[in-house]
Symmetry: D2
Subunit: 347 residues, 4 copies
Amino acid sequence: MTNDLFPISFTCDYNEGAHPDILRRLLETNLQQEPGYGCDRFTQSAITKIRQAIACPNADVVFMVGGTQTNATVIDGLLPRYGAVIAVSTGHIAVHEAGAIEHTGHKVIPLTHHDGKMHADELRNYLVRFFADDTWQHMANPKMVYLSFPTEYGTIYSRCELEEIHAVCQEYGLLLFVDGARLGYGLSSPEADIDLPTLAHLCDVFYIGGTKVGALCGEAVVFPKGNAPQPLLTIVKQHGALLAKGRLLGIQFDTLFTDNLYFRISRHAIDMAMKLQQLFLDKQIPLFILSPTNQQFPILTDDQRKRLDGKVLYEVWENLTDGRTVTRFATSWATPIEHIRLLAEVL
Amino acid sequence: MTNDLFPISFTCDYNEGAHPDILRRLLETNLQQEPGYGCDRFTQSAITKIRQAIACPNADVVFMVGGTQTNATVIDGLLPRYGAVIAVSTGHIAVHEAGAIEHTGHKVIPLTHHDGKMHADELRNYLVRFFADDTWQHMANPKMVYLSFPTEYGTIYSRCELEEIHAVCQEYGLLLFVDGARLGYGLSSPEADIDLPTLAHLCDVFYIGGTKVGALCGEAVVFPKGNAPQPLLTIVKQHGALLAKGRLLGIQFDTLFTDNLYFRISRHAIDMAMKLQQLFLDKQIPLFILSPTNQQFPILTDDQRKRLDGKVLYEVWENLTDGRTVTRFATSWATPIEHIRLLAEVL
Amino acid sequence: MTNDLFPISFTCDYNEGAHPDILRRLLETNLQQEPGYGCDRFTQSAITKIRQAIACPNADVVFMVGGTQTNATVIDGLLPRYGAVIAVSTGHIAVHEAGAIEHTGHKVIPLTHHDGKMHADELRNYLVRFFADDTWQHMANPKMVYLSFPTEYGTIYSRCELEEIHAVCQEYGLLLFVDGARLGYGLSSPEADIDLPTLAHLCDVFYIGGTKVGALCGEAVVFPKGNAPQPLLTIVKQHGALLAKGRLLGIQFDTLFTDNLYFRISRHAIDMAMKLQQLFLDKQIPLFILSPTNQQFPILTDDQRKRLDGKVLYEVWENLTDGRTVTRFATSWATPIEHIRLLAEVL
Amino acid sequence: MTNDLFPISFTCDYNEGAHPDILRRLLETNLQQEPGYGCDRFTQSAITKIRQAIACPNADVVFMVGGTQTNATVIDGLLPRYGAVIAVSTGHIAVHEAGAIEHTGHKVIPLTHHDGKMHADELRNYLVRFFADDTWQHMANPKMVYLSFPTEYGTIYSRCELEEIHAVCQEYGLLLFVDGARLGYGLSSPEADIDLPTLAHLCDVFYIGGTKVGALCGEAVVFPKGNAPQPLLTIVKQHGALLAKGRLLGIQFDTLFTDNLYFRISRHAIDMAMKLQQLFLDKQIPLFILSPTNQQFPILTDDQRKRLDGKVLYEVWENLTDGRTVTRFATSWATPIEHIRLLAEVL
C-alpha cells in the first residue's frame, strides 16, 4: 500500500466537486445565452422534472444556493413577523446556523430530541400547554415545525411518525417544513418507508438538497401545493438568495432529475455507508447511533484514532468522559469503494 | 445571413456560463477531496493571488456567491446597529435589491446622482448639515458610503474623484465601500486612471465581481487593511452567505487571477463595447450617456426597435416622453465579435 | 416687566406635563386595583369613547406610549416582511426616527414633499412606473402610504386631497396610515374640512396623538375597520410597546375623550397659534409657511433673535443663505395667552 | 366583614397607580416648562441621585418606559450583530417577551434553571464546550449573560453566586446584564447580602425597575462604568424607547431616590410578603418555592381556591398533576396590611 493514496476523507459529504454528468452539462451549455434569475430554459426544465418526481403538478419550485440561506429564506418568507419555529434542540437551525434564523427575527423554540428526531406527542404537549396558558399572547407564537430528513444523527422519520407530526401541525395551524439537505440519502435508506411524493404530501414546504448530493451547490425548495409566499422573487432576493446566473442551479437539478441520477447516486452513498457500518461492527467498534443513512458514528479509542492519523480524515462529534471519542464518518455520491477498503486496512 | 444565428442577446453580462478555463479547472480538480467553507487549497491560493494583485499582503479576502448577498453581508457586518449607509439614489442597494439592506436593519440614505455618480462636495454638504443639526441624534447615523465602480450607468470615478470622496469619509469617520460587481470592466476602461492597488488603497472594503466577469457565480470581498469584522465566518454564515463547497468559489477566482485572466477578459468586453458605441454613433443613434465601460445606452426609435425584434435582445432602460426608448446593450467576456457584426447588419 | 416671567418656551408642544384633569383623574383612581396590559376598566372605557368619537363601533383601538414606537409597531405589524412604506422626504419616519422603521426591516421610499404634503398624482405616478417596470420584483414592494396630519410643516390635507390619496391606495392595494401625533391641532385648524369620523373612513389605520395634546404620554392607535393585525397583544409586546400599567394610558385617553376635552384644548392651542401668526405679521416678520396649525415658522433676523435671547425659547428650523433663520414657534394646550403678550413685548 | 372590601388582588405588583409622593410631584411641577427627551432638570437630578446611590459617579443612566423595551434595547444596543445572550430557560427574555429579543436579531441561548437561577459552573461548562468545539464559528456567539434579580421564582442570587458568574463572564469576554424589574424587592429581602453599589460593581449593565416598585412606568438603566453604547440617544430612539416627555420618568425616579423612598416602599412589600408567607405556613398551605421576596407561591387545593373565588385574586402559575395548583401571590409597595388580614379571614 503506497502512501500516495492517503489521506482519504470521510469528513463530510461535500468534500468533492460535482457529479461528472453535471460538469459535462455545464460545458455543453456554456455559451448558450439565457436570461438570468431562473428564467432560463434549464431551470424551467428542472422545475418540470421535479414536479413529476414529487407528483405535484402545481408545486412551486425555487432554487437557492445553500442550506442556511434556504432555511432562513423559507422560514422568514412563510412566518408572520411574530411567528416562531419549533425544532429539536439538535436541529441545524437551532445550533449550527450562527443564529441566522434569529437574525431574521424569529425565535427557534427547542424541543427535546431523540436520536435527532422530534416526537409527535411531545410536540403536541408543548402546543397544548402553550395555548392553555393564559399568558400565551406574551410568548413567541409557534407557527411552524422544522424537521430534518435525515436528522443530524443520520436517523430518519418513518411514514407513521411524519403523519403524526403532520396531524399535530394541522390541528394547531402550524406549517411543516422539512430540511432535506441530505434528502436523497434519507429516502434511499433501506429503512425509509416513504418516497418523494409521500413527503411532498405530508409537508407544506421542503427542500431537495443538492450541495451534499452531487451538485456543486444548490437546494431545490418545493412548495407542493403551489403555496409559495408571493412575490417569491422579491422575497428570495431580499434575503440575498437570488442567483443572477440561475442557469447554474437549473442545469444541475435538471441533470440530477434526469434518468433518476439523484437517487442513483444517493443509493451509492448508502451502499458505501452500509459497508462502513459493517466494517465498524466487524472490528468491534461500537456505534453511537445505528444510523441508516450516509453518516456513521463510530466510537473510537485513542489507539484507533492514532492509527488513522494522517491517513483517514473524519469529524470529531463528541468527547466521551471515558476518553473515547464519538466520530462521524460520512459517505457521499463520490465515495469510491476503494476508500472503504483503505480504511479497513488502516484499522 | 441565416436565421439560425438569431436571436443574439446584449441583455446583460450574465447571459452565458463561465470562461472555459474555469470549467476546465473544475473538471481537473473535481474529485480532489478538500475541506469545506473556504478552507480548501484553491481558496487559499486565490486569496494569495488577490493579495498580490491588490498589493495588500495583509488583506482579508472572503468569497461570496452573489452581489445582493455580498452587499447585505458587508454593510450589516461592518455597520453598527444604528448606522446608515449613504448611496446615490440610483445605487444598486438603493433601488434594485428588494430592500435587502433595510432587511438587515440599516437605512440607505439617498444622495442625488450625476450619471450614476456621487459628488464629493454634495456628500460633504450632507454631512456638514447633518452634524450641524442639533437633532442629529434623532436621525439615522451615516457611517458608510457606498459607491459602484462602474456605476449603474456605466460611468466610472476618476482617481481624483475617489480621493475626494475618500477624504470626506476619513474626515467624518465613515467607511468607504466600493461595489465592484463589474470591477473588471471599470478598471479596463480606456478612461480609467486607477488600478486595483489604488482602489484598495482608497477604500475600506470592496469586492471584485466574478458573476458578471467570467465566473459562474462569485464575488471576492476584500478588506485591504486586514480589517474584516470578526468572527468573519460567523458573520458570513449568519447572513446565509457561507458556501459549503467553498472550492467552487476558490477555483474560479484562482483561475481568474492566474495569468491575468480577469483583466484579459474584461478588456475584451470593453473592446466589444467600444465597437458597439462606434456602431451606434456611425448609425446616428444617439447615446443617453457616453459610457466608457461595457454597458452602452443607445436611444432607439420604434422603427429601429422593430428591426431588432426577434433578432437582437437588449434591456429597456427608460421610456422617453417623445416616444423613443433608452435601451441598454451590455457586452461581456463572452461577447463574440460576430454579434457586433450581426447587430450592424440588422440595424 | 419683571425677569421672573422669563424664559418662556415655544420650543415644542411637549414642554409641560399633562392637562390638570388628567392628573386629577390619576390621583382619584390611584389605589383602585386593576389588571395590567390594557385589561383595566379605564382602557375599556377609553376605547368605547374613541369608537363613538370616530363613529366606528367595530374599530380596534390600542394604546402605545410614544410616536416612534407607534410608527414602528404599526408599520411592521401591518406590512409583510418584504413591504415598503411610501412617505414624503420630510416625513417623520423618513428623517427623525433614527432609522426605527428600517430597524424593523422595511424600506421607507421617499417622495417629494410640497410644504410637507404628498401629492396624490405624484404618488400615482410613482406606482404606475413601479409596476410598469419589468424589474419591479427586484425592488422593495410598496404596500403602505404614510402621511402626517398635520405635517412636519404644520400643513394639513383637505378632504379632497385625502380622498385622492385614499383612492390611489385602494387602486394599488396599499394601506393608508395617518400619523396623528398632532391630530387634535390638525382637526381644530380653521382650515380643516374633515373631522375624526371622516379621517377614520379614509384610512386603514391612524393614531390620535396624546403626548403633544395634553397627555403625559400616549398615542391611541385606531384600526377603524376592526382590522388590527392579530394576535395584537403579541405584536405590540414583541415591539416593546406593551405597557404593564396600561391604566396610565387608559385613564389619560378616557379623560381626553370625556366632555370633548381633547378638542377643547386643541382649539385653545390653535387660537394661541393664530394670535402668534398675527403677531408676526403685525411686526412685518415673514413666515416661511402660512401654517394653519399650532406650529408657526417665522423667519427672524439676527437682530430679532438677539432680542429674544435668554427670554424666549424656540426651535431653529433652517439657516437661510442670506443670514436669516427660519424658526419654529409651537403652541400647545398649555400655552397661556400671557406668553403671547410677553413675546410681543420682547419683539 | 362587608363585601365592599372585595375583591382584593394579589395578582401582580402593578395593579395600582404610583406612590402618592410621585403623583404629588407630578402635580407640583406640571406647568414648569422643560426640554424633551431627558434633557429636563428632573431627569438630570434623578441621574445624580442614582449615581450616588450606586456609588458610581461616572455611570451612564438612561430611563426607559417598560421592561421588555428595556431588555430589547439594552441587549441589542450592546451586542454585536452576531452576538447571542445566555439566559436560564425560565428567564423573562427567554419566555415572556413575545420573542422581542429575537426580533432584534439575537438568539437567546437557554441554560437549565434552578429555582429560576443560573449556576456559574453550568455557565462555565457551556462556554468551555462552546469554544472547544471546532465548529464554534458556525454557532451563534455568546456575548452576554442575562440574569434577573430577583428571578421569575422570586429567588435571589447571593453575593458569592454573583461573583462567580461575573468571574466566568470576565474570563470569556461576556457582558453581564441584570434585569432588575423588581430590584427593590430583591435588595430589600432579608436574604439579600448585596446592596446597590455591590450590584453595580458586579455587572456591566443593570436596571432599577420602577413599574413594579412604585412608579406609573419606568426603568432606570445603569451602565456603571460609563460604558453605555454611543450615540445612546440614537440607539434608544431607534428602538422606539425614547420618551418625548422624559420629565415623566425623571420626576418619578427623582422622587423614588429622594429620602430613600425606593427602598422604604420595597421593604414594605417584603414585610407584607413575609406575613403572607407566614400566613400560608400557619394554614399548612405548602409553598412551591420558599421565596424570600415579594412573590409567594402557595400550592392550593380546589377547595381552597373555591373559598377565594370572587374575593381574592391571584395568578395561576402551574397545574400540578395531583389536581392542586401552584399559584402566585404578589405584594407590592401598595399592599395594605388590611389585605393580608382579609385573605386570612377568607382562607
